[in-house]
């Protein structure tokens, strides 16, 4: 394995020598010294609204033909003004990119994520305006007010107002057929909040208890944090606004149940709910009015997912040029991720970070000049690129369910993993092995001592713990036997090949578990199917990363079973939590209950207190090993960025994080093709 690192050292060339690569690989998490990790930077927001607006030549042509109103009427009176990173860009061009199928919707969602009510600055730590020009949290923390932009319009030219928020609250969120269960984001102190229209451009969220976390939730990738996202369109809520003028036609409220269903059936859907959900997915429905910089022209379920500029987009640069600079985005379907990597190295994509394989870094570097691209490594802040999430509420097989619910069983499995071997094999030896806790630089980190807790190789201790659990009988191959029927204990690892080669990671872990007598059965499944199994609560262990967990309260589902949309840790527990006990299963494990209560109390705390709370939650989570961390803080999860040398305003390093909707927080609207 040293050889591959040598290649890396050679490819990096003058930056670091061979010997240096060896030494640095002995420490952990040494990507930062590869010379490929730049300074965190990006476009910033400006205050002054330019005196006049300009537009892309393609739109100017449409205006000249009378098919589009002039730019001054399309851009809101108070647009978002962006100061591009290096300078004003040029209009035009197509951003070529890859996607891997209809399940890869986030690929495009993340490009247009400036359709969120609020967003983050380039460091991912400070809330920034987006669709809303501002927000205000009342002194008592019980109300959050959003100020919209006067004169803002949907991509079809219809006005975007507070009514679109109220439509969501009353007709979508308020309709049990559309959103079956209330979302935790919309309640404080266990009581549901409400939305009030103050005037055409002002919306107020009112809660009976302080909800200090709410502005962050509006900015985060949450069920309320608006725009087109997997969490919103799939299992989600479509919060917190929707194009009323377009979606009304699908709702029974504006006709009748029978009429809405008849309409759905005529269009080939089973019922109106199904039709509404498909029609409200911008990736599937090019007709849907949107707010993002680009809108779909060819849907995601065809071989090419194509987007073109939204002529009504709400942001301009400091010179008054309406953004985005790039006319269109064309994503071509790659049959598999190998093809994505190969084409990226041939320079066939203008910018690709999604589905790029870290293990191919040496070859990627070797082909930089031929493919005319630059390579940037963006390091993750979450703790585990690969994590083993336990189903804490597995009921189908009681014996397995009992084991999965046992902290010592989980700890033993974690102690049975040789993270160094995995690091060498899959991360070029450069990642940080250890627990699932976030990077020590993150305010929510419980501290460096928790990196190793239960997260180092100790076969003897693991075996002793498993013996103490009464799993002493073994079969001829040395695998431990069940206590109920004497069969071999088979722990299924549901895994999907998505961002990393997780099936291969799981295979290696299953091999390593032989030494502790545990048979790991790797079940490599297609992504959508794997998540379906998870939502049905059928899995034992789900192998994935823990992306987003560095912002515990915004994206908790890889840490605690509290999110109904993603049940990797036990979907029925999450249902119980989200419904305040109305549905689902009450956790029997006191540690789960305790962390849930701690999590729930976060809404009433200010930021410093929230950070302290998160640290305490992490300590329990790591001690209990709800999820086993393997290796992390590497660029493996969409952090190996190949950027065409023709592109301008590209940051040296971007904050890759779930809540930043990478790359959206670095404002792709300001990227452009140099002459």
């Amino acid at each position: 394995m040293t050889t591959r690192r040598d290649v890396l050292g050679l490819a990096i060339g003058g930056t670091i020598g061979l010997a240096a690569t060896r030494t640095l690989a002995q420490g952990a998490g040494q990507f930062a010294q590869s010379g490929l990790v730049g300074k965190l930077e990006g476009a910033t927001l400006a205050e002054t609204i330019p005196a006049s607006f300009q537009e892309a030549p393609v739109l100017a042509e449409l205006v000249r033909q009378g098919r589009l109103p002039p730019v001054a009427q399309r851009v809101p009176a108070e647009p978002l003004v962006i100061q591009p990173l290096h300078g004003i860009g040029r209009y035009g061009g197509t951003w070529r990119r890859a996607f891997i199928g209809p399940g890869d919707g986030e690929n495009g969602n993340r490009l247009v994520a400036s359709d969120k009510p609020l967003f983050w600055d380039l460091t991912g730590s400070k809330i920034a305006p987006a669709v809303a020009r501002g927000w205000e949290l009342s002194a008592d923390g019980k109300t959050t007010t959003l100020f919209l932009r006067k004169g803002m319009k949907w991509s079809d030219g219809a006005p975007f107002t507070a009514d679109d928020f109220m439509f969501w609250f009353e007709d979508l969120y308020g309709n049990k057929d559309v959103v079956p269960a209330p979302i935790p984001e919309m309640s404080a102190g266990g009581k549901p909040g409400r939305m009030v229209k103050v005037d055409e451009t002002t919306i107020r969220f009112e809660f009976e208890a302080p909800h200090l976390l709410f502005p962050s939730m509006l900015a985060g990738d949450t069920l309320i944090g608006g725009g087109q996202a997997a969490r919103q369109s799939g299992s989600g809520t479509f919060g917190c606004y929707a194009p009323a003028h377009y979606l009304r036609q699908f709702l029974p409220k504006y006709s009748s149940e029978a009429e809405a269903n008849a309409r759905a059936r005529a269009a080939g859907f089973d019922n109106w709910v199904r039709m509404l959900k498909i029609r409200h997915n911008w990736a599937l429905n090019p007709e849907l009015p949107t707010l993002g910089p680009w809108r779909t022209t060819r849907p995601i379920n065809t071989p090419t997912w194509a987007m073109e500029r939204n002529p009504y987009y709400y942001a301009v640069d400091t010179a008054g040029n309406q953004l985005p600079y790039l006319d269109s985005v064309v994503m071509t379907l790659a049959e598999n991720t190998e093809i994505v990597n190969l084409r990226a190295m041939a320079g066939e994509y203008d910018m690709q970070e999604r589905h790029i394989d870290l293990a191919k870094l040496p070859v990627i570097l070797e082909n930089r000049d031929r493919g005319r691209y630059d390579v940037h490594l963006d390091l993750a802040f979450n703790g585990a690129d690969t994590a083993l999430h336990f189903n804490l509420n597995h009921t189908a097989d009681p014996e397995i369910g009992r084991l999965l619910a046992s902290a010592d069983f989980r700890r033993a499995l974690s102690l049975g993993i040789d993270r160094e071997q995995l690091n060498e094999t899959f991360w070029l030896g450069l990642a940080t092995p250890g627990s699932a806790a976030p990077a020590e630089s993150v305010p929510e980190s419980p501290g460096p001592e928790w990196r190793k807790k239960w997260s180092v190789l100790d076969v003897a201790q693991a075996n002793a713990m498993l013996d103490r659990l009464g799993l002493t009988r073994k079969d001829r191959d040395g695998y431990r036997l069940r206590t109920d029927n004497g069969q071999r204990i088979v722990i299924q690892m549901t895994v999907t090949k998505a961002f990393l080669d997780w099936p291969a990671h799981a295979q290696m872990i299953a091999q390593q578990w032989r030494r502790i007598g545990i048979f790991g059965d790797v079940r490599d499944q297609e992504r959508a199917l794997a998540f379906q199994r998870v939502l049905a609560g059928e899995h034992h262990i789900f192998v994935f990363g823990n992306t987003g967990s560095e912002q515990l309260f915004l994206y908790p589902h890889f840490v605690l079973p509290v999110d109904i949309g993603n049940g990797v840790l036990g979907v029925d527990l999450a249902r119980w939590f989200a419904s305040n006990g109305a549905i689902g299963t009450r956790p029997s494990d006191p540690a789960v209950l305790q962390t849930m209560e701690m999590f729930r109390s976060a809404t009433t705390l200010d930021e410093p207190a929230r950070n302290r709370l998160a640290q305490e939650i992490w300590k329990i989570v790591i001690d209990q090993q709800f999820s086993i961390g393997v290796c992390g803080q590497s660029p493996a999860f969409a952090g190996v960025r190949l950027v065409s040398r023709r592109m301008g305003n590209i940051p040296a390093r971007v904050c890759i994080a779930q809540h930043c909707r990478t790359p959206a927080s670095s404002h792709p609207t300001t990227w452009f093709f140099k002459a």
Binding site: G103, G234, I339
Partner: protein, 329 residues
């Protein structure tokens, strides 16, 4: 002869029927019925399906009824062209396959032309100039062609195409052309992308056909009628082309049966390696995703193609080979 054709036709229909049963079994294979899978999918997208709705769906698809009733309902819908909806793509199965069918046919046709264009003349040449240097050379290349799995060949060729020529790899169009409407430039783009996959797809088959052609022709060349033809003073070219080659063509004709499904699914592994937007990878994906209507439809399509291919190859054999024709009378 009419009787023979009728018999073959009837047999074909019976085979297609059996294939459809098999396809239906494949659709049924995953645990739970497909309404379960469908409900799981709906609930993962947040829709809740009421028990009544689920019951409606079950009735619509005839679930819970005996196998033959379910099969009958499925067949009934297929005959009206309703192959169901692909769960993954959220579009009718016919559209999803249709997207890829033409490119698949084009690619396979190109491969076919390359195969025959190379195999026929080389096979004839090797037989006529048996044990010459060229024959040995072709034999060597041929054996390598047969022995090397073509996905490996695909990887190797792809590597060199990339390293030496910077040739674009994977797919049938470059990214900027994929979306463009059909134009001269797009056709040119396609033509540029076509040779690599066509040649890779063709090579294995070519090698095989060369060997078959050579062996058959060698048999024929020793026949007394060839001596007679030569004794009559026919030119060498005419002697060979008119009689022994024609007799040696049989394997080409009987190969047609396998060409038809091949035209649709190509070589699945090669398509995956090269990232070709053909039906083959679609089948694999559908199976992985348990998108059973899509998978079942493709299996049915492949089966039907094989049957049609066999029937056509029978007809062609009868046409090229009078011995078969007369045997039947």
């Amino acid at each position: 002869m009419i009787a023979f054709i009728t018999r073959r036709l009837l047999l074909g229909v019976v085979t297609i029927f059996l294939i459809s049963v098999l396809s239906f079994i494949i659709i049924q294979l995953p645990p739970g019925d497909f309404v379960d899978a469908y409900i799981a999918q709906l609930s993962s997208s947040g829709s809740q399906v009421s028990a009544a709705e689920a019951e409606n769906l079950r009735q619509l698809y005839g679930l819970g009824e005996p196998f033959y009733v379910q099969y009958g309902k499925w067949l009934g819908r297929i005959i009206t062209g309703d192959f169901g909806e692909s769960m993954e793509w959220r579009r009718p199965v016919t559209e999803v396959i249709g997207d890829r069918l033409w490119l698949t046919l084009l690619l396979s046709f190109a491969a076919l032309i390359v195969t025959w264009g190379l195999a026929l003349p080389i096979g004839i040449f090797s037989a006529v100039r048996q044990y010459s240097f060229a024959d040995y050379a072709f034999t060597l290349v041929g054996f390598i062609g047969i022995a090397v799995p073509n996905f490996l060949l695909a990887l190797v060729i792809m590597y060199f195409a990339f390293v030496w020529f910077g040739a674009s790899v994977g797919g049938l169009f470059s990214a900027e052309m994929a979306l463009a409407p059909w134009s001269a430039a797009k056709v040119w783009d396609l033509i540029k992308h076509l040779p690599l996959p066509a040649i890779i797809l063709a090579l294995g088959g070519t090698a095989q056909l060369i060997r078959i052609m050579r062996a058959n022709l060698l048999d024929e060349l020793r026949r007394p009628y060839v001596v007679t033809a030569r004794a009559k003073g026919l030119s060498e070219a005419r002697t060979i082309i008119k009689y022994p080659v024609r007799a040696a063509l049989n394997p080409f004709a009987s190969n047609i049966a396998y060409l038809f499904p091949y035209l649709v699914s190509g070589s699945i592994i090669v398509s995956i390696v090269l990232g070709l937007p053909t039906v083959g990878p679609l089948l694999v994906k559908a199976l992985v995703a348990q998108d059973m209507f899509l998978a079942g439809t493709i299996v049915l399509l492949l089966g039907v193609m094989t049957v049609i291919g066999t029937f056509i190859s029978d007809l062609v054999l009868m046409w090229v080979d009078p011995r078969i024709r007369h045997q039947m009378d």
